[in-house]
Structure formats: C-alpha cells, structure tokens
Amino acid sequence: MSEVPAGLHYTASHEWARPEGEQVVVGITAFAVESLQDLVFIELPKLGDEVRRGERFGEIESVKAVSDLYSPVDGSVVAVNEALANDLDRLSRDPYGEGWLIRIAPRTSLPEALAGLLDAAAYRRLIEQEEHGGG
C-alpha cells in the first residue's frame, strides 16, 4: 500500500493539497508516482496563472503515458517547483516533500477552498479499490 500521510487533502485524480499559512501546496501522491513508473517530463504552469479545481494545470509524462494534472483548489499560482524540470527523481523519491509541484493562493478562504476534498482515510479507500479492482 502506498504512503498516504494523514493531515493532507486529496483528489480522486491523485493530487494532494497541504495548507501552509493561507496558501496551499500541491503535489501528486505516492500512488500516482508508483502507477506512472519512470517519469520523463513535467509541464507546470507559470507564476500568476489562474487555476480552477478539477481543471488541468499541467501534465506529467512517464514511459507509460502522458497524464494531466488537475488542481485541487481555485486560485492563482504563487510558486512553482522549478527544480523538477531537471530532476524528476525528486518527485519519484519524495512526492510529499521536495517533489511538490506548485503553491496556490486560494481565491476563497482556506476552509472553503479545501471543502469537499478527500481526507487520508477516504483516499486510502479509493486507491485500495483501484489496486484491487472490482470495477
């Protein structure tokens, strides 16, 4: 079972969101990284870009496939992890730490921005279902 840290918020499309002050740090989960296998390319937004919950903010390519990245919250991009462009191993190694993708200033208050996202237990159930099937 992939690591699913408590205290983070999750999307069904395998992004995580971590509140820091009034902002939200966004990345993809260990399950996503393991499913993608070897990563080869990432495209992230520019500073100041507007992102919306459930809409695409970038893409990630592995030897298997190209996948869209979906924003967990509405807001604007205030920081981008530029280091990933040359070193995607950071993301494979540490998806919840130095493999973070972007930092977002939410358009609304923090509780409002994060409402409706999955907690760790709910996300764990989701990936269990994906791993063990039934669908």
Binding site: S35, Q37, D38, L39, V40, F41, E61, V63, K64, A65, V66, S67, E130, E131, H132, G133, G135
Partner: protein
Amino acid sequence: MSAGVRPGQAGGAGQGPPPELASRTIFEESRPGRMAVSLPEPGVPSPGAEALLPAWARRAVPPALPEVGELQLVRHYTRLSQKNLGIDTTFYPLGSCTMKYNPRLNEQIAALPGLADIHPYQDPDQVQGALELFYELEQLLAQLTGLEAVSLQPAAGAHGELTGLMCIRAWHVSRGEAARRTRVLIPDSAHGTNPASVTLCGMEAVPVRTADNGRVHLADLERKLDERVAAFMITNPSTLGLFESELPAMAERLHAAGALVYLDGANLNAMLGVIRPGDLGVDVMHVNLHKTLSTPHGGGGPGSGPIAVRSFLEPFLPVPRIVRGEDGRLRLETDRPQSIGRVKAFLGHAGMVWRAYAYLRAHSGRDLAGVAKHAVLNANYIRVRLRDHYEVAYPGMCMHEVVLSARRQKRLGASALDIAKGLLDRGFHPPTIYFPLIVPEALMIEPTETETRETLDRFCDAMIELAELAARDPEQLRQAPRTLPVRRLDEVRAARQPVLRWRAEPAPADRPPLAEGDACAAASAGVPATR
C-alpha cells in the same frame, strides 16, 4: 533470429554475426570505392553536372552515401529484418492497432505496371483506370460506412480525425456558429490522438467519464452538452473493446443540441459488413485502411485514413474531388469554395487505395461480415481462456479486443510491462499495455480474424504460464526478455536524451573518413548544400 546475437544464451557462437557486427549501421559497413553496380561508360556525350545545373543547385560536398557491395547490403538489411517482430513472423495482438495479415494478393494488384508505374503528375485522361479505383473505393467506403461522400486524401487515422474535425468546424462556420462552438466532447477511454486532433484544430477537448459498465457515462455527457459543443468524438467499439449500444440515442441528443458526431473508426474491424456507422447516427468518421482493410501497418505503411461524411458535409471535403463528367470520364475538380482545401499531396496514398480496393473486392458480400465475426469470436475466445488467470477489465462479451488487467500480478511483483517482456521470450509480440489509461495495468489484446485456433491457444498457454510465473518467481519475469538481441532498454534515457541521428565516429587510421560532415547528410541527397 540469429542465435549468436542473443545475450545470455549459451551455445550461440558461430551461428550468426557477433553482436558488434549485428548492430552496425550501414555507414559503418562502408569502404571507399566499394559498390554494388558497375555502370558502363555512357554511349552518349555526358557534359557533367557543372554544365547541366546552376551553381546553387549543385552540392558543395558529395552526399555521404554508404559504399557497400550488393551481398553486404542484402545481409545488412536481412539481419535488421530478422531482429524485428512482424506480422509475417509472429502473432501480433497489439490492441487497437488491428495488426491483421496483409494479403499477398493486395501486393500483386499494387505491383501491376498500370498502377505501379504511373506518375501523379500525369494528365487525368491518361490514368482513367487508376482514377476509377479511387472513385470506386470511395463508393465502397460509402456503402460500408452508411455515409454519402468520401475523401481518400488523409494519410493516416489521426490525419483523418483532423480532416473530419476541420470539415465539422467549416460547417459550423457556414452556419455562423463557429465562434461559440469550440468544444469537442471525448470519452476518457479515447485514443490520445482524439484530443490532440481537437487541439490542433483550434478547439478544446472536454473529457466525458466512463460509467461502471465501461460505456460512456450518459449523465456526464448530458451535463457537458451545451451550445458550446461542436462535436462528440466517440470510438465504437470503444478502446475497452465494448460496443457503445447507446450511440443512436447519444447521437440524437447531440444533433438536437446542434452538434455533430465524429466516429473514430479505428475499431471498424469489429463491425465490418455487419453494422453501418451511418445507421447509428454518425456524421463523420475515418477508416484506417492500414487496420481494417489490411494494408500494411507500422513501419511497413504508409497508413491511409480516408474520411466518410454525410452529404451536407460534402462541400467541405478536401479538394480535388474526383467527379465523373457527362462523358463518363473522371476528372479532378478543385473549384469548391467551401472546401477546407487540400490536406495531402496529390490524391493521398495511392498504393494503399489499390490494396484496400483489392481486399474489399476479394471479401465482397457475406465474406466481409465473416471478417468482423471472426475478429470478435477470436477476442472472446482469448477472454474466456484467460479470465481465471487475469482480471477482465469489464464484465461481459467483448468485441474485437479484450482488455485485461495485470493488477493481481502487479501485487505479486510483476507488472503488465514484465508480462509483455515475458511474451517476447515466448515468441509473441506483446499486446498494447497501459492503455486505455482508465484501466490500471492494462493488457489490451486484439487477435484479429486471421489467426488460427492453434495460435490463439499457444498465446493463451504462454499468458497462463506467465501468470503462474508472476505468482511463483516474479523476479525472473522482471529479467525478461532474455532471448532477444537486446534486453530491457533504458526508456527514461530514450525519452529524456534521445539520440535521433547516427554520426560517424572519428575514423581510425586504417579507415579513411566516409566524407566530410554528417553521414546522415545522405538523407538529404539532392538538396543544395549551399545556395
């Protein structure tokens, strides 16, 4: 396969070229002055290039063509071909690609001098027979699809998608609706080419979810259907190998909302001669001649992706159109003000037209439906033989391909990739893996109609053996392939730092250089080096 080039296999010495020779490029085989043909002295005065061509049209440096003898040349390319797994040597169940046998009759027809030796710049009056084949193939494809007009220009399936979308867009432009109709709805199981074609056409791809039964999620489609939608792009049977039985109802909803229905015809093999997509409400579709109609696929192409449309879209089809005049002769018509223009040089890939025509004529009537029925039967045979060993992605009958999931094996330590590599060692081309994206550890198997039951059984036996190996010794599977000229390739490096052209190494003292500059300049022979 020459045994000597198989790493990890004992006893191969003397049975083939040593590995370093087997992997040499033709440029490395080259020696100055060696040649395959000795041309006689010309019997007429030869003034030389300087007298015949202006300075800008002459190369400054001769092209760095490899210099080899005929036998060397034959051996080099024969060796390369032996490293390849192809439909002529191997069962090739590459899902979604319809790697069916390319009948030799097609090749005989395409090689007829009246077809092989004509030139696209010839006057239409001199090539009426060839044009007749274009014209008749258009009619045959119209019959097959249940649509009214056909263009044979697009060079491949994705090119057909783009051409079809451009026609749809032109239709919306003609109705003054193009500005607001910028969205194309696409199921999340679709081929990646669908959203790519939409984007290239300047529109926005909007994904529609897949329901639990593997079909388009009707409520999600309804939710996304508004006046911004230009078209719905659907694949039927879907990439999950499932028949979209609700397509007529969906098409009705789309039409009521002022949008059109595009069918990705990649999976037409499952419906050939049984169902006409036009009867399901489709307005535009492409037909992959290199899949469904047995023309060569992959490296052996080129592909060909004709589109078929309803009559109200005909004015937008690419020019020139082949039309029959009152005198019964065929001519090329270019004066079509609403046309999207030309999408390909001349009339498309003519050689594929001859082959597809031969195939359709050879399989006329009932026979053609037999193609679809056997393709579906073969896929279901594999599904039933493997369903206790692998998870089947969606329950029930499949169409021409079956999508399995190696989730169970993944938990034991061997992924879909490892199983694919294991199949290589057992003499099979692997199925498509990790597609469709919505199925984890997907193995997408499309046997086609041209395989015997014995071949299907050998393949299923190998798949079952691999499932057992995944349970018993997954590490062994992670080491596959062991019997091929190369083992696991560094896919990450190939993607991040691709080496796209070969360059001559500094020549050793006993080997004079081939020529100045890049050996790959040979590829641009005839292009002026300076101007």
